[in-house]
Subunit: 163 residues, 2 copies
DNA sequence: CTTGTCACTATGATTATCATAGTTACTATC
DNA sequence: GATAGTAACTATGATAATCATAGTGACAAG
């Protein structure tokens, strides 16, 4: 690869976010952070990415103001990673990706009989399916509004990765 | 790069679409297709990607059932590229990316005084801003529902790229 | 004082990407 | 009828990002 072309100065909004999100490692790390997994080793294990890549991407995300690095222990000194408001706002993008996958990316029956992850609206309890607005109460769905329940098969996969 | 790790068999819906969308070239090509630019040379020029990359990604997108290759002329034989329903459904993801960018990815005043692209709901005429549901009529917004008007600055950039 | 934990850094092989140039199959112009 | 143009690609070589594996530093626990 030559130095990859830089699109961060394009005025096109899709091009600008493509520079950030058009990267498997970034998307997977954001998934972990949105799921509330904040520790380096957990992120590395769940994504299957090497520590060097995780380190490089987290540094970049901190520099972009999407992630914040915090000390959660002084002795020994240990850090973890938190999404900023700018980072939390990326929930909408990942949720759209999830919705597309649930509809288009699985063979029939591949996830059992339900979706790979069942999402429930915290405030009203409705199963949101793959909707953009809550079918129970009509509210828009954003960061923190949903509670996800992975299917048994997906849960087994996640356990296998961290073991 | 070693062979990139394959996530296409993960059961996680974000992981599965990350395999597809976690790629700058794919996102940029999808942007062009969603904007109705279907010809190879136009896509290459507007994205700034080399023809080899465009060719490889379009082949992959055809194999994934996201894009369809059609002959638009017999003599000389010429082809262009159309989104399938599976491809059109990716509008939601790119629209979420656009919304995030409009809110978080620009310095104040960088796009003039409005957004980089102003979107209007075709059926009711309302300016949708960065909403997920139309603020005019309350309808959900999907592929084909919006008419985009790039800001003068963005338009100038697009003209410069194709010249 | 050895083993374990966590957040990383270092090294080398592999390969995707970019820039540039060339190819094929026609049509249009001089 | 030879040259130039157009559209959709393919070929080639240099570069650098990625992966696998191993190692480091600072501390805690047994």
């Amino acid at each position: 690869m030559p130095k990859r072309a830089d699109l961060s100065d394009t005025l096109c909004p899709v091009g600008r976010s493509a520079e950030l999100l058009g990267d498997r490692a970034v998307l997977l790390i954001l998934r972990e952070l949105l799921f509330g997994r904040r520790r380096f080793e957990l992120i590395a294990a769940n994504t299957g990415l090497g520590p060097q890549l995780v380190s490089a991407r987290l540094k970049m995300l901190v520099a972009e103001g999407i992630v914040e690095r915090r000390a959660y222990s002084e002795r020994p000194l240990r850090h973890d990673y938190w999404l900023t408001d700018k980072g939390k706002a990326l929930f909408d993008v990942l949720y759209a990706m999830r919705n597309w996958s649930e509809r288009w990316a699985y063979e029939p029956g591949e996830t059992g009989d339900g979706p790979a992850i069942r999402y429930v609206h915290r405030t009203c309890g409705a199963d949101v399916g793959t909707a953009k607005i809550c079918p129970g109460c009509g509210a828009e769905l954003g960061y923190g509004d949903l509670k996800g329940e992975p299917s048994p098969a997906l849960k087994a996969e996640q356990v296998a990765r961290t073991a």
